[in-house]
Symmetry: D2
Subunit: 387 residues, 4 copies
């Protein structure tokens, strides 16, 4: 067996997303045939002890406490940005300027301006062969990749409707504590960027179409929450929530299809309820992330019409996207595997010298929608074109 | 057993709704203890032969071809309006002026002006004891009546979200034929009045709150359809569709809760998909009309929180609304029984000298929302207050 | 409209089943075109006052307290037996001997001997034109009638498996009170005859095949329950339960397919859980009575195999059995409508001079299986051929 | 961070199970805090090239082609048996005799005699500190571990019913090819050992009770299948199927509860349909492996009884078994993670000097049930006590 070329990874951040990415970098070449094998070169975090513990646990060979030093390392070929949103732009722009590939968690940035700068940096760096990808991992759910294929093949006919919600409930309780995720200066926005970005990206991905305008309502139901008492993160006093708890908006696609979106952290009982449904003249598709191995498909009946109905396709067959590398039919995958698939696609694109998708341009396109949503919500639910 | 007092019913229209109402008037006193027993006095239709056939089949004692003559009959105490929307106002106003009770199918009217006139007529007639009810039959689904009770009891805490869709698919196929339901002058509106009216009424009913403003997108995906070839109904040529195929809108409730609504006849595979979900600080409720005997209830866990989850309550217990008169647990009801329950509630209110709900004022309140939706859709998705 | 011929109905019993049958006799000719219109001639019960109240409520023209007198009435053409099992044989045999048609509730009898006598009586009476039907109403669930059609059309290929359960929970609580249904001398058996008879009949109906042998386990989990304190029905003391609470058995079909059955009143949370699944070489079907408007259909994929899956067919289309007489797609039916369908099929068969199904021979075939199950359970789970 | 002690793993077999185990050994110490960190010392297979490829892909440091040599390696502390059933006994007995820990895939053995010998070997070796575990990985599905906890806590009251099926469909098509899994001499049995073993183990695990007797029907629907044309594996001619395609059996538990089991490879459309339901006097539990992150829980209502219903618990909370090491609520796990959990529990038991469960004694207990099932099926569905 010939040795496979390695690609040195440097990761910024080691919390929730960092853990998921670490496992994916570890697993990808054991499951998939990839042209480049990731080498976990170094992980970067401000707290050296914590970073060292994470490195030990997840198998990173070295530790950095300054992301500039991480970018400068010769053994690092790709910068994987798992840090909060306010670090996305500076790290990505610097890494691309240094000729490194970049994988950046979503949403691409905290503001439209940052996203534009990042996309420009990616464009500039691509001449030198550096690749940039936005981490919309749900494109890598096999059921959604299959859905994309079915839409592109015309199985739904002409699209009429898209409705997408992303419902969580960790802020449903007014007594839930304050965190940095509720501060606009760190997180950019609340449910909109955290959850809404995913469904906006999926709308573009699944339909292959663009959102041309939006009209939005936003709410911060609980305007003050208490810090959990840790002096380092803000003490125990009340904190002002400066992001949205929830947002709901209507939209039009370029094709004329009607769309609606909702993102919230206050839907009691919905833990990870990303639900999306498409209706066309010839059929429909429905998906729920809480049952991510399933896709519901409706095809309008022909002579056979009296037996039509939504069909629960268990997306675990070898013929389904990503599945030939995994287990026999009916042996399900979990949420974490979306990152393994993302790693596969990124490594494959880099190895083949191709642009990975979603690109920073895709990330920017989502950001334009998020921006229009914020403008609409700020201006009394006005209609805002997406430019 | 003492003889029960009878109430003479005169029904206008004998098609889809007329059949459902006829069965309900026949069944109600066999299932429920009602203070007044309906007597099927006369049915009214333009086509005397067809009306006579319907009378024979459904047990109406007489036939009229002029609704004014129906109202004038001494053996008729209540006018049941199952005719198209353009007849609602003239029949209802005349019947009330004649001191007759009125049950009017939904939506109350084709225009806001008509609805206001009808409500004024109902107010004027109530002094003389005449009662008026709007036929929003889904308030009588036991699961939704139970939902109403749970919300009123505070089981959901403070309401944050309401999302409601009513999805059908009989116009998904662009080749589906033209009917009068696609003509604005007969039907008033399309999916909005036919389907949207139900979910707006349910939003008011379930929350006990009011919609204060809306922002709407509307679409007529297929602007011309062919008449089905019957010379009497317009021949076989093309007809212009002058109502909406679909509408989607966001709304705010007076409480500050966010709401979204969608009504469409183009959601392939959704046959009668009225789905409504409420999320509050302490719990959630979800309902789907295609499974009308079920209510999903989530209550946020306490010490027990790790076992919380959406609970599928089979709403067939004697303790549930309307169910003590029916069958043992697990023996389900159908769509048609909502009309039997409606008849029970109306007869009970009249017998007890009380105002039945939903009143014409409730019907008017829904009409105000529909009107605001049409205004918003006509003005580029503008924000429209509901006055 | 020509007058339709009437058929005089005389009903024995007016409790649970009597109520369901009464509503069906009232509704059938309003919904369906039937060659004979039922006339509710007389209802029979031991307690004259109660019978009179039932007659008043449900529209029976007369009352009898002796079933022999009911049979003797000239205005009665059909005897509808809704009484407990120990009355089935004497009433049916006498009615048939008098040349009356008979509809008998299930199971056909309390013992195999009685069932054989009833079947012989039906055979003898058929020469004179009297018809006899067993009331296995679940054959009239549209979804199950559709399932029967699909199996008969070969859509499942060669059948391999049938698994059927009928789960209820009203005896799950050991403190639930004693009733006559737990006395062998009145009810014949417990869950076996009450619930098991339905799934045995459905197995025969759906497959068109016969059960050739069984092996059964039976249990009476709670051997003594207290009478609820009504002196007339046995006072308030303890009563000995002499029927089964639950039975589970395996079976072979003549085709070689494997089958399993379970009937219980002790499955906490299952209210009316009749579930049946068929697996063949080309497809599968699954049904749940708690969602009686739905049929799940799987067809093994061809070139298209990667998109196969269980399809939820909403059995509410005009092309589905019984449905052309009802409502538009998606407007569901309830449990009670199975009796309306049963009445339609019986009236149609009588009107056409044909043998209605399930016949008494079908009822006897089920009884043979129930008998074999009891034998097996009594003999240590021995294998018992069904003769 | 202190260095953690390592445990050298030697794995026999590298196909389906070997891949799943390899990923688990790689992941376990990155996800969980375990007292021993696995070192992938060597993998063993007859085909050296294939074994070397597997080693390269999955990170095994060395390769052996003789399992005796694997056992003899000083750097191997634990033998992980992922080979076909006929190798379980010889490898496990030799490894235990050499003082090595053993993890053996299920079912424990091809025959009862082998299983007894293996259990005796485990007993003998335990004095020296060697531990033996049977690989019933589904005990490690968090939802099932939670179910076990709920039953043990008495949440279901007294158990009345258990029904378990394991349905797959890869042999539903009579044209599916012959493999060694259909040869009794290699595989021991068919669906019984492959699938039935899992549900028998789960019945013991979930209830904490023993099966005391069984009565079984077995079938080989297709007695001859064609080899797929590979000369090495038997050419392309017809092969005789000498194992069962399907088995269905009833059973009694020591407590008196009734149970039924079914295992089949011919249930069209069921891909990995392990479904198990428990009913007790106070509640019920239901589980489906195709939705392995969910547990349905019913608790009989108290004063609140009218709102009881099956509750869909999304088993992804930190308070649920294994979940505190994974992701936030609603972020689901996949099938493969059961092996990571198994590795955690085994490493923890070895590190703590405790007996891991399921032990070889547990594996033997399952084997006794499988043996009784085969005896019953061979003797005309006779009742067979489990000794």
């Amino acid at each position: 067996m010939a040795a496979r070329t390695e690609l040195g990874i440097g990761m910024v951040g080691y919390a929730f997303m960092g853990r998921a990415h670490s496992l994916a970098w570890q697993a990808v070449s054991r499951v998939f045939d990839v042209p480049l094998v990731p080498r976990l070169a170094a992980v970067c975090g401000l707290d050296e002890n914590a970073a060292r513990a994470a490195a030990g646990r997840f198998g990173w060979a070295a530790v950095e406490t300054d992301w500039r030093a991480l970018i400068a390392r010769e053994d690092v070929d790709l910068i994987d940005i798992c840090a909060p949103g306010d670090l996305h732009a500076p790290v990505a722009v610097a890494a691309l300027a240094a000729g490194k590939h970049v994988l950046c968690e979503k949403p691409l940035a905290n503001t439209l301006e940052e996203a534009e700068a990042m996309n420009a940096a990616a464009d500039a760096a691509s001449a030198g062969g550096a690749r940039a990808m936005t981490g919309f991992n749900y494109r890598r759910v096999p059921a959604l990749a299959l859905a994309r294929r079915l839409v592109a093949d015309g199985r739904l006919g002409v699209l009429r409707h898209l409705r997408a919600v992303y419902l969580q409930d960790w802020l449903a309780d007014p007594a839930a504590p304050m965190t940095w995720r509720m501060q606009a200066e760190r997180a950019g926005s609340g449910a909109l960027g955290d959850l809404g970005a995913h469904i906006v990206d999926l709308a573009r991905y699944l339909t292959g179409d663009e959102i041309t305008g939006v009209s939005a309502l936003s709410a911060t139901f609980v305007e003050s929450r208490r810090w959990p008492g840790d002096p380092e993160t803000g003490g125990s006093g009340p904190g002002r929530v400066t992001v949205d708890d929830a947002v709901v908006f209507t939209a039009r696609l370029a094709s004329g299809a009607l769309a609606s979106f909702e993102a919230t952290r206050c839907a009691a009982g919905r833990k990870n309820g990303l639900r999306i449904e498409l209706n066309g003249t010839a059929g429909s598709l429905a998906f729920d992330l809480e049952r991510l191995n399933e896709l519901e498909l409706y095809e309008a009946g022909a002579g056979d019409g009296d037996l039509s109905g939504f069909r629960r396709v268990l997306v675990t067959e070898a013929a389904h996207p990503y599945l030939d590398a995994w287990w026999p039919p009916g042996h399900t995958l979990g949420w974490e595997h979306t990152f393994t698939h993302q790693a596969r696609d990124l490594l494959t694109a880099i190895g083949n010298g191709e642009q990975p998708r979603p690109s920073f341009a895709d990330g920017l396109a989502v950001q334009r929608v998020l921006h229009a949503v914020q403008e609409s919500a700020a201006h009394g639910n006005s209609w805002e074109s997406v430019k």
